[in-house]
């Protein structure tokens, strides 16, 4: 059941300060020592326009150009993936669904690999995110076109088409890699990107990702009630006045945009879209007006913490972000699976 107002209020009351703290902690902890007082001072200078004296140029650079963008990108990507996961689980009426099922992830990966092997990614910051996003949207359009007949998109067909397209696109990606494996630098960069990572994130990356996340969350909230109704079954939703195909289309495209924007700036990061909405639903019930924003918030906090772990577990090496989320998420996913099957057999 949807938690009573009190529990929801408590959740936001705790989560928002927790997110703030996570941001500050993540900015405070880095590869070189930096006191939190310095950080607060730099933020005051940059955001509130305070006087600069007393803070070294280098400290300002480190905080404002290196650390803050990275943490903000982590928040944006986490929010995007959390929301996308919540929508997927509602659309497919399955708590084990996640954004990667519609071929979007592999499509974005192919776009990214094309950027790497053609060399455009080395020249400028924008081609990689742009190609990844385009790859995601093209893959989705292919999947959608394959599974839509007469304006109707059956979810089971969508899933099959998504998995099939994903396999095919992944094969293309491997092919490109094989042809270019002589260039070890490219091969290494591709491998690292495909394991996800937030190193060397700039404000540009934040501005590439954040607007799409905000748009996506907004579009999802508009359809939140439709999602609740769709979970009762498509026929039931239609009989209660929902324009089912239009709602599905909006939601599917929203998932593609959210996932595409996330992969564009962070590479392939998995498990966030699976775990966070599930945990939120366990705490706060299934109503999407609550689950969607809470998943965004939870996803942001989760990814900030995972990125912090990635940087601090084994200094000076940074563990790839996708590896950390998988290591945290894998065991949790197994537990979920076991619970699901135990309950189903009861």
């Amino acid at each position: 059941m949807t938690a009573p107002r009190l529990r929801i209020g408590l959740f936001y009351g705790l989560m928002m300060p927790a997110l703030m703290l996570a941001v500050i902690a993540a900015v405070a902890i880095g590869s070189t020592p930096l006191g939190w007082q310095t950080i607060v001072k730099v933020l005051a200078v940059k955001i509130l326009g305070w006087n600069q004296s007393g803070i070294s140029e280098t400290d300002q650079l480190v905080v404002w150009i290196i650390r803050v963008p990275r943490v903000l990108v982590a928040a944006a990507v986490g929010a995007g993936l959390g929301t996308a996961g919540a929508i997927m689980q509602g659309l497919f009426r399955n708590p084990l669904a996640e954004p990667g099922l519609m071929g979007i992830g592999p499509g974005a990966a192919l776009g990214g690999v094309i950027a790497f092997v053609t060399g455009v990614s080395a020249k400028s910051v924008l081609p990689l995110p742009f190609l990844a996003m385009t790859g995601a949207l093209l893959a989705l359009s292919l999947v959608y076109a394959m599974s839509t007949r007469g304006g109707v998109t059956p979810m089971a067909t969508l899933l099959l088409a998504g998995v099939a397209t994903g396999s095919f696109v992944s094969a293309l990606t491997s092919l490109l890699l094989t042809l270019n494996i002589a260039n070890w630098q490219i091969a290494q960069e591709v491998l690292f990107w495909m394991m996800g990572g937030l190193d060397a994130r700039t404000w540009t990356h934040f501005w590439i990702c954040a607007p799409f996340v905000v748009l996506g969350l907004g579009a999802a909230l508009v359809e939140a009630r439709s999602l609740d109704l769709l979970m009762q079954g498509e026929e039931a939703a239609a009989s209660l006045g929902v324009d089912v195909e239009s709602a599905k289309r909006t939601l599917i495209v929203t998932v593609a945009v959210l996932t595409g924007a996330s992969v564009a700036v962070a590479g392939m990061v998995g498990f966030v879209g699976l775990l966070v909405p599930h945990a939120i639903r366990m705490l706060l019930g299934p109503s999407h007006r609550v689950v969607l924003p809470a998943s965004a918030l939870g996803g942001a906090s989760f990814l900030i913490l995972c990125d912090l772990l990635a940087r601090t577990i084994h200094p000076p090496t940074e563990i790839r972000l996708g590896v950390v989320t998988a290591l945290c998420g894998g065991p949790f996913f197994l537990v979920l699976l076991l619970r699901h099957y135990r309950e189903a057999s009861v």
Partner: protein
């Protein structure tokens, strides 16, 4: 619904989406010129630049991305991010001025600058934060390196020069020695090093007997070979040899098979090996089915050089030239 593949609404949505992505890309490009710069129309990994301006400060140099970099005064704290750049720097400037190096500088098997690096312990440049902490006044990144790293350090306001590093001729290396001198303010020292480099190349060429036939020399490490447009190819040419892979149309560093190697029938094969694995590698190459059928294989004319000697594309490339010349004619 007449279109069985995509309902009208779906097509519209998709077009709107792709359109928005395009618009946003154009908008970001418009509003953040330092990050995108004049690079989009180019192909390849940046351009080699050898036009040097006047010696007076402030100096302006154009980097491989086409950006004009302004240097106010001779830099005293230089950050390098790539192993070839390390090697150029340590050949030209006093070692104390190099404040960051690539990861490879610390690797025994590859590094030619191990001594100063172990003595002075400069920071490894893979972490941009540590680079900032080293307080550099000039940052040198490679043209093949990550663009987001480059964008990040460029946004700090410190002069960042993106260095072309895909050298394909010895002359380019010699020119770049002078460019490094210009960038670092060590023009005279660079002129010395460049002249030395040139002299040693001439010396290597002179080892060749006057009436010697043009030897067929193949650079080969299973399954790759060095074709045209590689530094190896230029070295072979300079030493008066013929590169059978380039002859056969192989471009760059590319895969070849045993049959091709057999057919090309090189007289000499040059390869590289990890430190301490030279003999092992020689044996493996001799066992290659294609090599066994070549003159090089039958006569045992396999030159195996350690990575530290074979790989550099910097002033240290001279060792590769000398080693091959000596193996051929001494």
């Amino acid at each position: 619904m007449s279109n069985p593949w995509l309902s009208a609404d779906g097509t519209r949505t998709l077009l709107v989406l792709l359109g928005s992505v395009g618009l946003i890309g154009a908008a970001v490009n418009h509003w953040s010129p330092p990050l995108l710069g004049p690079t989009l129309a180019r192909t390849g990994y940046g351009r080699a630049v050898t036009q040097l301006g006047s010696r007076a400060y402030p100096r302006e140099v154009v980097d491989s991305d086409g950006f004009s970099v302004r240097i106010e005064k001779p830099p005293r704290r230089i950050a390098s991010q790539y192993w070839s750049i390390d090697e150029y720097l340590y050949s030209i400037v006093p070692a104390e001025r190099v404040v960051t190096v690539s990861e490879s500088a610390y690797l025994r098997g590859i590094s030619n600058v191990l001594e100063p690096v172990l003595r002075l312990k400069p920071v490894v440049a893979s972490d941009p934060e540590r680079v900032m902490r080293a307080d550099p006044d000039l940052i040198l990144v490679s043209s093949g390196g990550r663009s987001d790293y480059t964008a990040l350090v460029r946004s700090s306001g410190i002069p960042v020069y993106r260095m072309f590093i895909d050298f394909t001729t010895l002359q380019q290396i010699e020119d770049y020695i002078r460019l490094f001198g210009y960038l670092t303010g060590e023009d005279d020292r660079a002129e010395e090093v460049a002249a030395n480099f040139h002299a040693e190349v001439e010396h290597a060429k002179s080892l060749r007997p006057a009436n010697a036939r043009k030897p067929r020399i193949l650079g080969f490490g299973r399954p790759y070979a060095y074709g045209s447009a590689t530094l190896f190819d230029d070295i072979v040419k300079v030493l008066g040899g013929v590169n059978p892979a380039a002859e056969a149309g192989v471009r760059g560093y590319d895969m070849v098979n045993a049959e091709q190697v057999a057919r090309w029938n090189p007289e000499w094969i040059v390869s590289s090996a990890n430190e301490g694995h030279v003999e092992e590698t020689r044996k493996k190459i001799m066992e290659d089915p294609g090599v066994a059928l070549t003159e090089a294989g039958r006569k045992g004319h396999i030159i195996v050089l350690e990575n530290r000697v074979f790989l550099p594309m910097s002033p240290y490339a001279i060792h590769r030239v000398t080693a091959i010349a000596e193996a051929l004619w001494k």
